[in-house]
């Protein structure tokens, strides 16, 4: 039995090892993607808090003056006082100092090194084929973890001895690191596999839990605006949305030209997992709330999937779990390489023994 499990462990590692390594390396980059992105664009991302925060109208005016009244798609207020606000235009994303109205610069859309890391992590940057390879690499990681634990259990080896050139050193490293990382790696691999098979998981969860249609808490029937009717300002839309969800922090105001109505997204700071799933849709003429979708209205299946994603991203308990997720990803390549070295050294010694016997 042990021999069979060892063969399974080896086979899964040899088949999927390279892809698991890619998942680890890219995952370690993505664990701190927002922070990295801000560091890479520091002059556009950070501001010094000073005085009052300008209204959306004032920020919109500053952007319109600079960009020849190009229509504003959406405002993205930042969630931190020292991060700049963003204004989305068709040409790109304008970064604005929300205290002075200074235009810090424009970011254009398109793939960057961080986006490429994300593409590698999700689909090996090669479409459907890559997506399927990585899906099954997640399953292979789970098999490898289960078989690895089975192999480790009898000896329960947790030490590192010998010179780094010796097989013993790599054997100890592989064992100790494997056990140390076992639980966080299991969490990352399992949640990643669920994300990779999200459609199937959503179907299954929908059947297991009673599917609940997300209902609007309040709605009005939209009417044709009266001739000459004026649209409400984004600041008024923001105030209406804020009154619907006191204490929530708005992080996006989409303009009615883009989507047919004001769409205000709010974050409930008390709910780390699904707190960002709040959307108030407001009629641009009457100011009436067309629909109000709250994170508390999510179905059990949606909540489970959101929690799964939060665990995978390391967001579930904030910074401590993000650090654990990052450390685990950083160590994955070490685990893959130590396993490969063990296999190569074992294979070489078997070949030598074989040659000696001849």
């Amino acid at each position: 039995m042990r021999r069979l499990i060892l063969r399974v462990h080896l086979a899964t590692a040899l088949i999927a090892g390279a892809f698991i390594l890619v998942l680890g390396v890219t995952g370690s980059t993505l664990a701190f993607e927002p922070e990295l992105d801000r560091r890479l664009h520091a002059h556009l991302s950070y501001v010094k808090p000073s005085g009052r925060v300008l209204s959306l109208g004032e920020i919109g005016d500053a952007v319109s003056r600079q960009f020849n009244a190009e229509p504003i798609v959406a405002y993205l207020p930042s969630r931190s006082a020292d991060f700049s606000w963003k204004v989305i235009l068709p040409r790109g994303i304008v970064c604005v100092n929300q205290y002075t109205g200074e235009i810090l610069g424009v970011r254009t859309r398109g793939q960057t090194i961080l986006g490429f890391a994300h593409e590698l992590h999700v689909r090996l940057a090669s479409g459907d084929v890559g997506r399927n390879i990585l899906r099954w690499s997640g399953v292979a990681t789970l098999i490898s973890l289960a078989s690895g634990l089975y192999l480790w259990w009898p000896t329960k080896r947790f030490r590192i001895c010998g010179c780094w050139r010796s097989r013993e050193f790599w054997f100890d490293l592989h064992n100790s690191l494997g056990v140390l990382l076992w639980l966080p790696l299991l969490a990352l691999a399992a949640t990643g596999t669920v994300i990779a098979f999200e459609d199937q998981a959503a179907d299954l969860l929908g059947k297991l839990t009673r599917p609940v249609q997300v209902r609007s808490r309040q709605s009005i029937t939209r009417r044709e605006p009266a001739p000459g009717a004026q649209i409400i300002t984004p600041d008024e839309a923001l105030a209406i949305a804020g009154a619907q969800m006191p204490g929530a922090i708005p992080y996006r105001v989409q303009m009615p030209r883009y989507g047919g109505a004001y769409r205000v997204s709010l974050d409930d700071p008390g709910d780390r997992v699904t707190g960002g799933h709040n959307l108030i849709v407001i009629d641009e003429y009457s100011g009436g709330v067309i629909s109000s979708t709250r994170s508390s209205d999510l179905s059990a299946a949606q909540r489970i999937l959101a929690t799964n994603e939060a665990i995978h991203r390391g967001d579930v308990f904030g910074m401590p779990t993000r650090i654990v997720a990052w450390l685990t990803c950083v160590m994955v390549p070490v685990q893959v390489i130590s396993g490969l070295l063990l296999w190569l050294r074992g294979r070489n010694s078997r070949v030598a023994v074989g040659k000696g016997a001849l």
């Binding site: 798609v73 068709p90 970011r107 996006r252 883009y258």
Partner: protein
């Protein structure tokens, strides 16, 4: 004279048949994505210019930008927020349009295939 008239009428009918004005519905699938994304595109053709709107349904529509039509080829852009969609379409039948879609957002770029049919 009759021949000339017939040709003019035929070409006129062809031009009418080629007009893409109207509602088109279908879906796009991102290469490496899980599922199709619904699309409803409302096109207005004025010569070689294309205007109108596009979105997932009639309730949520975004204006077309830089729309033009050259022969059977249609190109236009839609900004839906962080994402910019660039459509490169070809009319493949009287009531059918197919093509590619470039999706770009901050840091990300993807491609998709799209298929649309005229809503009657």
């Amino acid at each position: 004279m009759k021949t000339v008239l017939a040709i003019v009428v035929l070409f006129g009918m062809g031009a009418i048949a080629r007009d893409v004005t109207g509602a088109w519905s279908g879906a796009f699938k991102v290469n490496g994505g899980d599922h199709g994304v619904q699309q409803l595109i409302l096109l207005k053709q004025d010569g070689v210019k294309l205007s109108g709107s596009a979105g997932p349904d009639a309730e949520e529509q975004y204006p077309l930008e830089n729309g033009k039509i050259e022969g059977d080829h249609l190109t236009f852009e839609v900004t839906s927020g962080e994402w910019k969609f660039r459509y490169h379409l070809k009319r493949t039948g009287a009531d059918e349009i197919k093509g590619d879609l470039e999706l770009k957002s901050l840091n990300n770029g993807r491609s998709a295939v799209i298929s649309l049919r005229r809503v009657k």
